[in-house]
C-alpha cells in the first residue's frame, strides 16, 4: 500500500502516513464523498510510488480563479473581454485569485443560524495574492472557516495556501457529527482539527514535490475554526489569527502567534516594542516541506452571547491587532450600512487597503448566535 498524498509505503490500518503525515483512509474517503467526483483520485489506493497524484484540491480551486468576465470593469464599468482586459479602457480585471469573496447562510440581520462572509484580497503592495481561504456551512449548520497565508519569500506559496485551505475545509465540513456534550465535542473537534492540519501540511509538501522540490519550498500559515452550535473550536499554526468579538463585552484573541514576536513578548518586552521589531513577523511554525514544526495549537471556547468570529491573516491585523480595534471596525461597517457578513468583511479589507495594503488581506467572519445552537444541548 502507498500513501495517497506522497506515494510512500504505508502500513495497513495506520491512520496517518509516517512519511508525510497525511491522513489515510477511511477519512480520505470521507473527504472524497464531500467533494465532487474529481477528488476520487486522492483516495484511490494502489497508486504507483514516486508518481505524483494530481493535486485535485488545488487544481479544482485554481480553475475557478480566473477573471469573471461577467462582472463589469472595475475602472470604467464597461464589459471585460475574454482575455481579462476591459474592452474600452484596457484596465486589467482582477482575477478571482486576486480578490474573491465567499458567503454562506442568512444575512447579518437574520435571527437564525450562523452566517459566513469572507474576503481574500491581494492588497496593494504585493504583486500576487499568496493568501487563501476556504469556508463552508454544512446542512447540519456547522460553520467552517480556514485561512492560510502563503510565505511570500517562497515561490508558489499561493498554491500551497490554496491547497491547504481547500483541503482543510472539505475535510472539516465532511467530519461526521460529533455527538455528546460540550466537553465531548471539544475533544472531538481537537482531533479533527489536528488531523486536518496534517492533511493540509501534506498538501503543501506534495506541491513542493510536484514542483521538483525547490530549495525554497512553498509554505504557508494555517488557521481553522469550526462553529458547532455554542462551541468555537480553533486550531492554528503560524501567525494567522482568530478573534472572538461579542456584540457587547470586550472581545479576545483566540490564537497566539507562532512567531518571534510572541517569543519576544514572552521574554518580557511589550507588545508595542515587539510589533515594532522587524523580525516580529518571522514565524516559528508553518506548513510546508521545510517546516520544522507543523503541529497546530488548539483553543476552544463557548459562545454565550451573540457576536462575530473573525479569522484573518496578518495583512488585516497589521492595521488593527486588538479585539477592540477590530470590533470597532465591524461596528463601523454595520453603521455605514454593511448588511451582510461579506459586506462587513469587504469593509475591513478596504480599511486595510486604505492603510496601505502592504500585505495580502484575508478576513473571514462568522456571525454566531448561541440561541440557534445546533443538535447538542449545552453542558459544561
Amino acid at each position: 500500500m502507498t500513501c495517497p498524498h506522497c506515494g510512500e509505503g504505508i502500513v495497513a490500518g495506520d491512520a496517518f502516513c509516517e512519511a508525510c503525515g497525511g491522513e489515510l483512509v477511511p477519512d480520505a474517503a470521507a473527504r472524497s464523498d464531500a467533494a465532487s467526483g474529481d477528488s476520487a483520485a486522492v483516495s484511490s489506493a494502489g497508486a504507483t510510488p514516486g508518481v505524483e497524484l494530481p493535486r485535485t484540491h488545488l487544481l479544482r480551486a485554481e480553475s475557478q480563479m480566473g477573471v469573471d468576465t461577467s462582472l463589469p470593469c472595475a475602472a470604467c464599468g464597461a464589459e471585460v473581454a475574454d482575455d481579462g482586459f476591459c474592452s474600452v479602457c484596457g484596465h486589467r480585471a482582477r482575477t478571482r485569485r486576486e480578490h474573491w469573496t465567499e458567503s454562506h447562510g442568512p444575512d447579518a440581520g437574520s435571527a437564525t443560524g450562523p452566517a459566513i462572509g469572507a474576503v481574500c484580497d491581494k492588497g496593494i503592495a504585493h504583486a500576487g495574492n499568496e493568501d487563501a481561504m476556504a469556508t463552508a456551512l454544512t446542512a447540519a449548520g456547522l460553520a467552517v472557516v480556514v485561512v492560510c497565508d502563503g510565505v511570500t519569500t517562497a515561490p508558489d506559496s499561493d498554491k500551497a495556501s490554496l491547497a491547504a485551505s481547500v483541503a482543510t475545509c472539505e475535510l472539516l465540513a465532511a467530519t461526521p457529527s460529533i455527538g455528546g456534550g460540550f466537553a465531548a465535542r471539544l475533544t472531538g473537534w481537537e482531533s479533527a482539527l489536528v488531523a486536518a492540519c496534517r492533511v493540509a501540511n501534506a498538501e503543501a509538501v506534495a506541491i513542493a514535490r510536484s514542483l521538483g522540490d525547490p530549495s525554497e519550498p512553498p509554505s504557508c500559515t494555517w488557521v481553522a475554526s469550526v462553529v458547532d452550535g455554542d462551541l468555537i473550536a480553533t486550531a492554528w499554526c503560524g501567525d494567522s489569527r482568530g478573534y472572538w468579538l461579542p456584540d457587547g463585552p470586550p472581545g479576545e484573541q483566540l490564537t497566539l502567534d507562532h512567531s518571534l514576536g510572541t517569543e519576544m513578548i514572552r521574554s518580557g518586552i511589550t507588545r508595542e516594542q515587539a510589533e515594532a521589531d522587524p523580525t516580529c513577523h518571522t514565524i516559528t511554525r508553518w506548513l510546508g516541506a521545510d517546516s520544522v514544526d507543523a503541529s497546530p495549537e488548539y483553543r476552544a471556547m463557548r459562545v454565550e452571547a451573540p457576536g462575530w468570529l473573525l479569522v484573518c491573516s496578518d495583512g488585516m491585523w497589521n492595521y488593527a491587532s486588538t479585539p477592540g480595534e477590530l470590533s470597532g471596525l465591524v461596528n463601523q461597517a454595520v453603521a455605514d450600512g454593511a448588511a451582510t457578513p461579506t459586506e462587513i468583511a469587504e469593509s475591513l479589507a478596504a480599511f486595510a487597503n486604505a492603510q496601505g495594503g502592504h500585505d495580502n488581506i484575508t478576513v473571514a467572519l462568522v456571525r454566531c448566535r448561541p440561541a440557534a445552537s445546533s443538535a447538542s444541548p449545552t453542558q459544561a
Binding site: 482586459f85 474600452v88 479602457c89 484596457g90
Partner: protein, 426 residues
C-alpha cells in the same frame, strides 16, 4: 490548414506618469499551401513588361524581359487565371490577345511563352495606364488573390502627371504588385510608391542577365502565398492614440496611413497574401497614464483571415515604481527602432545628395553607417560602402565617394528598407 502564431516582445513596465507603450509583434505562418488551391479561392497573375523604346537600348534588356516573362509563366501553377501585358504608350494584351484572363494549362502556358518571345519595343513609358489596365483585367477574375509583376526600365513620361496617382487610387486593395526596375534609368520613388500602395516589393535589377532568376523567384514566392488576404486588427483603449504601426521585418513598411477604422477603438491594416513566413510589426501606442501598480492593455493585435481571428498578441502596460523594471528597453524594440531609423536616414541622405546638399548627405549617410554597423545589418553596410568611404564607424563619420555608379545608389535606396532580424535568446 494554415496555422498562425503571434508573439509579443516588449517591456511592459512603465514609470509613473509614462504614456508610451512599444511592442514588437512577431507573426508567423506555417502550412500556407499554394495560391488559389484552397477550396473556394482562385488566384490571378498578371505580368506587365515594359516594351517602351528604351528597352532596346541596349537590346539585352528586351531580350532579358522575354526570357524572364517566360520563366515567370513557367512558375504559374495550373488553374491560375493569368495574362501578360506589354506596356508602352498604352497597355497592350500579349496573352491572351483579347482583353481578359486565360486559365493556366499546358496549352496556355505554351502559347503564352511563344507570345512573349515575340515582344518588340517601341513607344513611351506610361505606367499609370498599365496599372489601370491591370486593374480592369483583375476585375474579371473570380474572387481570390490577385498579384502582378511590373517591370520597367524608365521613368514615366508618356502620360500626364497625376495619371499614376489616379490609377493607384483605383487599384488599391484590388491586387498586390511587385515592382522591378531594370538598368538605372528608372526612378526609385515612382516604383516605391507603387509597391507601397499595392503591398508589394521593389528592387533594382541592374544587370539584364539577372532578371530571369529574379522573376522566377518572385513568381515562385507569389505562388506560395496560400493565404489570400490577411489583415492586422488593432484594438487600443479609449483615450489612446496609435502613434504608429509598422512592419519592421523582413523590411520596413509603415502601415499607419493604411488604417481602416472598423469601430471607435479598432482599426485594421491590410497586409496582403502570406506564404509560410514570418513578419514583425512594431506597434507604438500612447495610452492615458494610470497610477503605479495598475495594469492596462495598450493594444490587442489580432491576425484576421476571412474575418476570423487566427492569432492574437497582447501589448500591455504596467506602471511600476521599480526603476530596474521601467528603464529596461526591450532588445527587439531597440533593434527595430534602429533599423527603421536606418532606412529613413539612407533615403533622406540620398535625397540630399541628389539635390546637391552634400553636407546634409554626409551627415545622414554617416549616421546610416553607424546604425547599420550597430544593428549588424551587413547587407546595408555593403551597399553603403559603395556610396561612401567610412572614416570612423563608431562616430558615424563618412566621406561621399567621388565616383559612384548610379545603380549602386539606387540599390542602396531600394534596399534601405530591408532589415535584419534580431537574434533571439534561445
Amino acid at each position: 490548414m494554415a496555422e498562425f502564431r503571434a508573439e509579443v516582445f516588449q517591456n511592459e513596465y512603465l514609470s509613473d506618469g509614462a504614456t508610451d507603450v512599444h511592442g514588437v509583434v512577431s507573426v508567423s505562418v506555417s502550412g500556407a499551401g499554394v495560391a488559389g488551391q484552397s477550396p473556394g479561392t482562385e488566384a490571378a497573375e498578371i505580368i506587365i513588361v515594359d516594351t517602351s523604346g528604351s528597352m532596346d537600348m541596349p537590346p539585352a534588356k528586351i531580350a532579358a524581359a522575354r526570357r524572364a516573362a517566360k520563366v515567370a509563366i513557367g512558375e504559374i501553377v495550373d488553374g491560375t487565371w493569368f495574362a501578360v501585358v506589354s506596356g508602352h504608350t498604352v497597355a497592350q494584351m500579349v496573352f491572351p490577345t483579347h482583353p481578359g484572363l486565360a486559365k493556366m494549362s499546358d496549352v496556355t502556358r505554351r502559347d503564352a511563352s511563344e507570345a512573349v518571345g515575340r515582344l518588340r519595343s517601341g513607344g513611351a513609358t506610361a505606367i499609370g495606364a498599365w496599372i489601370a489596365a491591370a486593374t480592369e483585367l483583375f476585375e474579371q477574375a473570380p474572387a481570390g488573390q490577385r498579384h502582378a509583376i511590373l517591370l520597367t526600365d524608365g521613368k514615366i513620361e508618356g502620360e500626364p502627371a497625376g495619371a499614376l496617382d489616379a490609377a493607384l487610387a483605383n487599384a488599391r486593395g484590388k491586387f498586390q504588385c511587385d515592382c522591378r526596375g531594370i538598368g538605372s534609368d528608372w526612378v526609385v520613388e515612382e516604383l516605391r510608391t507603387i509597391a507601397t500602395e499595392l503591398l508589394g516589393t521593389v528592387d533594382i535589377v541592374a544587370e539584364p542577365a539577372d532578371l530571369e532568376a529574379d522573376f522566377e523567384e518572385m513568381m515562385r514566392n507569389a505562388m506560395s502565398r496560400g493565404v489570400a488576404d490577411v489583415r492586422l486588427r488593432l484594438w487600443a483603449p479609449q483615450g489612446s492614440e496609435v502613434m504608429f504601426v509598422r512592419q519592421v521585418a523582413p523590411q520596413v513598411d509603415d502601415l499607419t496611413p493604411r488604417a481602416v477604422r472598423i469601430s471607435p477603438l479598432v482599426v485594421e491594416y491590410p497586409t496582403g497574401a502570406w506564404s509560410d513566413e514570418s513578419r514583425d510589426y512594431h506597434v507604438a501606442v500612447r495610452v492615458p497614464t494610470a497610477p503605479v501598480g495598475n495594469e492596462r492593455l495598450a493594444a490587442r493585435v489580432e491576425v484576421v483571415v476571412d474575418d476570423q481571428v487566427v492569432a492574437k498578441g497582447l501589448v500591455k502596460a504596467i506602471w511600476s515604481g521599480d526603476t530596474n523594471l521601467t528603464t529596461r528597453i526591450d532588445p527587439a524594440v531597440a533593434h527595430y527602432t534602429g533599423q527603421a531609423q536606418l532606412a529613413d536616414v539612407i533615403q533622406r541622405g540620398l535625397a540630399a545628395k541628389a539635390s546637391g546638399d552634400e553636407r546634409t548627405a554626409t551627415v545622414l549617410l554617416g549616421e546610416a553607417a553607424k546604425l547599420a554597423h550597430d544593428t549588424g545589418n551587413e547587407d546595408t553596410t555593403r551597399l553603403l560602402n559603395k556610396v561612401v568611404d567610412v572614416v570612423d564607424v563608431e562616430a558615424g563619420t563618412v566621406r561621399l565617394k567621388q565616383q559612384v555608379a548610379k545603380s549602386d545608389e539606387m540599390a542602396l535606396d531600394t534596399r534601405s528598407t530591408k532589415t535584419t532580424r534580431i537574434r533571439r535568446e534561445p
